[in-house]
């Protein structure tokens, strides 16, 4: 038996081949039952490992419903987000009322009611209806009247196209209602997607990543993050996830708020740290930047706080940092049952770590909420 056969089957199963190699493999498999058998065996093994090693995630009733709806087994049912729905419904009603109102004006003109000019209004075309909807006003209907007190209505003379206008209005109303439906669906889907993306998956955990800043530096201090992240190794490591903190300028030219023009300079060399912790494996790394070396007889100590409260838990002390002040330290909490809600770095006399307090805390994360 050729073990390469199994290797090739494995690389194909795990999608480790490029497009050309995959095509060659698939072609060979069509003519070679032994290769087919090896590939099926890899599929069996892969499925068995995946099933054995993954905790199940119970589908919600809505997920079952969505599947049935998609297959046409039950008629579609809308989940109503009433505030949104009522807003759009109000807009739809407003559009219909305004359209009817326009039609009424047309009728009055057609009947020659005094006070109105002899000219007929334009059909309520899409632009007019759109303006009404998008601006939320009846701007086109409330323009100043002409000096003789008549509404400044212009258009083709004569009123012979009334049925056409009515038909147009109906078509337009229908079209707007459809647009409203589509927009409403989109609007409903946006929060749904975000909610699903960040919802808790039972039995699973995302790695914990947070920024630690000196006490008193607010989380939303753009000047601080702009200056400190510019050359941070963690910025390169985490890419856009952290640069986003510095705003759309990408951390290069953040303009400080008025009255804080001097802050970037004063904050420029303040230390920061980013702990990255995988609770599932109890493996963590603390990446520090601009952290000055501890003085003789002193050491930096890392602590972790949990959502359950209580005293912070001592994790360990940092070995001596590099001269550049940027370094990384591996740590573990000794148990996968600890889910950190915050990290604290203190500076204490060597071998005598004291509980974090205002006096010895150097960095803390997550940063203080913005004031």
């Amino acid at each position: 038996m050729n073990s390469d056969l199994y290797d090739s089957a494995a690389w194909r199963t795990f999608d480790m081949l490029d497009a050309e190699e995959s095509a060659i493999f698939d072609e060979a498999m069509r003519h070679d039952p032994v290769l087919q058998s090896a590939y099926l065996e890899m599929d069996r093994l892969s499925a068995a490992i995946a099933v054995t090693q993954t905790p199940p995630v119970k589908p919600t009733p809505e997920q079952v419903l969505r599947l049935q709806t998609r297959l046409g087994l039950i008629p579609p049912q809308r989940s109503h987000f009433w505030p949104t729905f009522s807003g759009w419904a109000a807009a739809a009603v407003l559009a219909v009322l305004l359209t009817l109102h326009l039609t009424g004006i047309i009728d009055r003109i057609d009947m020659g009611i005094p006070g109105l000019s002899a000219t007929s209004p334009p059909p309520p075309d899409s632009a007019t209806a759109h303006d009404i909807l998008s601006n939320g006003t009846t701007r086109n209907l409330q323009q100043p009247s002409t000096p003789d007190g008549h509404l400044p209505i212009t258009g083709t003379p004569g009123g012979g196209n009334k049925p056409e206008n009515k038909a147009n209005a109906k078509v337009e109303t229908k079209r707007l209602n459809q647009e409203i439906e589509v927009l409403r669906d989109h609007l409903e889907n946006v929060p749904n997607h975000d909610r699903a993306l960040f919802e808790v998956v039972p039995g699973m955990a995302l790695p914990i990543v947070m920024t630690m800043t000196p006490p008193g530096v607010a989380a939303a201090d753009p000047a601080f993050f702009a200056k400190n992240d510019e050359h941070s190794p963690i910025t390169t490591m985490l890419g856009d996830a952290l640069t986003a903190l510095t705003g759309p300028s990408g951390g290069k030219s953040v303009v400080p708020p008025a009255g804080q023009a001097d802050r970037p300079t004063s904050l420029h060399k303040l230390p920061t740290a980013v702990p990255i912790y995988d609770a599932a494996r109890d493996i963590g790394t603390l990446v520090v930047s601009n952290l000055p070396p501890a003085a003789e007889g002193e050491t930096y100590n890392l602590w972790v706080s949990t959502a359950t409260g209580g005293q912070p838990i001592y994790v360990g002390s940092l070995s001596e940092s590099s001269a550049s002040g940027a370094d990384s330290f591996d740590f573990s909490l000794g148990s996968t049952m600890v889910l950190p809600s915050g990290f604290i770095l203190t500076k204490d006399p060597q071998d005598t770590p004291a509980s974090p307090s205002e006096t010895n805390t150097v960095l803390q994360g997550p940063p203080s909420p913005p004031r």
Partner: protein, 203 residues
Amino acid sequence: MMETELSPIHSLSSGLCEDPSRMAASLIRRMANDDPTALLELYSIWGPVFLGIATRMLGDPQQAEEVVQDTFVRIWNGSADYNPHHSPPLVWAFTMMRGYCIERLRSRNRSKKDASRAVLTPLSTASEKFENPRVMATDDYRRVRAALNQLAPDERGCLELAVFLKYTHSEILKHPDTPIGTVKNQLRHALKKMRNQLSRYEL
């Protein structure tokens, strides 16, 4: 210590993921006859497992739901063409779902908009309490777990990551510093050991 030469033995794990009670095959047959209750029953059996696996592969519960939905739609539409002699039902469905996951991962890497993947990791190793004999025979769970336990931690980690599509071609292109040679070597050893270990159970 001399390392024992491990030689692959053909079709050692052929019994894995079989459908001994033919329950899944029977449900698929009922689906071919447009029986929606069969779909719901199969979804109640496979849905949780597939959702868990897809979530782990994609790192996005929303996309995982879509992928599982795509899979069940395809099972429903292709139920009439399913041939149990080609592959067991679970393997057939799993392969389809993995294909959809690979498509999603490739698409992410192509668009470069959302190429990042937060790889979810289980908070605890799947244990006996997750076993569902309606999904896979209890003996299969035991065999696979025992075989995985024989692997060195590196090999086991590597194999699990490969199964959960961490080393796909597009992922490796994205991370050129991934030592693909080392990965393949570890996988090769892990697979050999797995096959040999599983063969012992066969005997």
